[in-house]
Symmetry: C2
Subunit: 185 residues, 2 copies
């Protein structure tokens, strides 16, 4: 039994990860490291996550991971991408829907990159969830862009079906990869 | 007579500044320092410019300035702000017009912050230009958001009247402040 820290300033993300850890791994306890860090500017989630976890480990000196997630919309050249949280604060889901109004090509994906640092090396885990941008906001669960994202093969948004999200999302997939790694070390 | 370097990766900005220097100051020659730098993430132009000029001076070791400019649209909570160049690449002026469709409150401002470092200290100069977002793109001159920005008291966009831009713009005002400072040292 040992502890692993999730460095994030976003409690929603921690809670989501904590549930996934509890369901999938016994001998690791997930702890919250309230980490406020200015990310670098980059169009690469992995580059952002690698830099951030190095900073987190330098502060904490214990096994720690960070995650960075973005929504990449094909018709918008990958916007809002690695700036998804900032764009959400400024123009919200309503802004994204305006930008997509009348647009037939609605494909998009959520991508997550987790970077884990155990003090010796950094391991990186990726998760991806393909889907489409809905025509309007639907559902109240989740956060961020969950109310406008419909995962591939489904008809409901993540915000309408949070159990679906917690079983198939980009974050879930990348966390499972991390958990699989932790089980084998 | 001495040289001052403008550190920028954007040749449009250098040319604009060079013309303003030539018209307004004799004893300083503006030179281009082709500076590729990853800016920090911040909602403050001044913070971004101060960090960038420190990096530029560390490389060049000669009097140098950087500038950072953003378009701040009130109805969009200041979007695209300090991420204006990135947003322009992703969704362009067309994206901004979509976000503003049907919006009555069209006020916006361009802001520029120049940070000048002479090896001893950093001086900061601000320029601002109030205006509104046009209903459609107009004009071919300039770059970036010039085709959708109408300065206060005018009816044409910057892109329709580049001479107007070079006489009243945010960048012009901040450069004049810098020039005024250089004349007095």
């Amino acid at each position: 039994m040992h502890d692993v820290y999730f460095a994030t300033g976003n409690l929603n993300k921690f809670k989501e990860a904590d549930e996934i850890f509890k369901r999938n791994i016994d001998r690791v306890t997930l702890k919250h490291f309230n980490f406020v860090h200015r990310e670098i500017r980059s169009d690469s989630l992995e580059e952002i996550a690698r830099e951030a976890v190095a900073a987190a480990y330098a502060q904490l000196r214990k096994p720690v991971f960070v995650e960075d997630t973005g929504l990449f919309i094909d018709a918008l050249n990958g916007f809002p991408g690695t700036y998804s949280a900032w764009v959400q604060k400024k123009i919200g889901c309503i802004g994204i829907l305006k930008l997509m109004k009348g647009e037939k090509k609605r494909s998009a994906r959520f991508e997550t990159c987790i970077a884990f640092n155990n003090g010796e090396e950094t391991h990186v885990f990726h998760g991806r969830c393909e889907g489409t941008i809905a025509e309007e906001e639907r559902g109240k669960s989740g956060f961020g862009y969950d109310s406008i994202f419909v995962p591939e093969g489904e008809t409901t948004t993540f915000a309408e079906n949070i159990e679906l999200k917690n079983k198939c999302s980009h974050r879930y997939k990348s966390l499972l990869e991390l958990i699989c790694y932790l089980k084998n070390v």
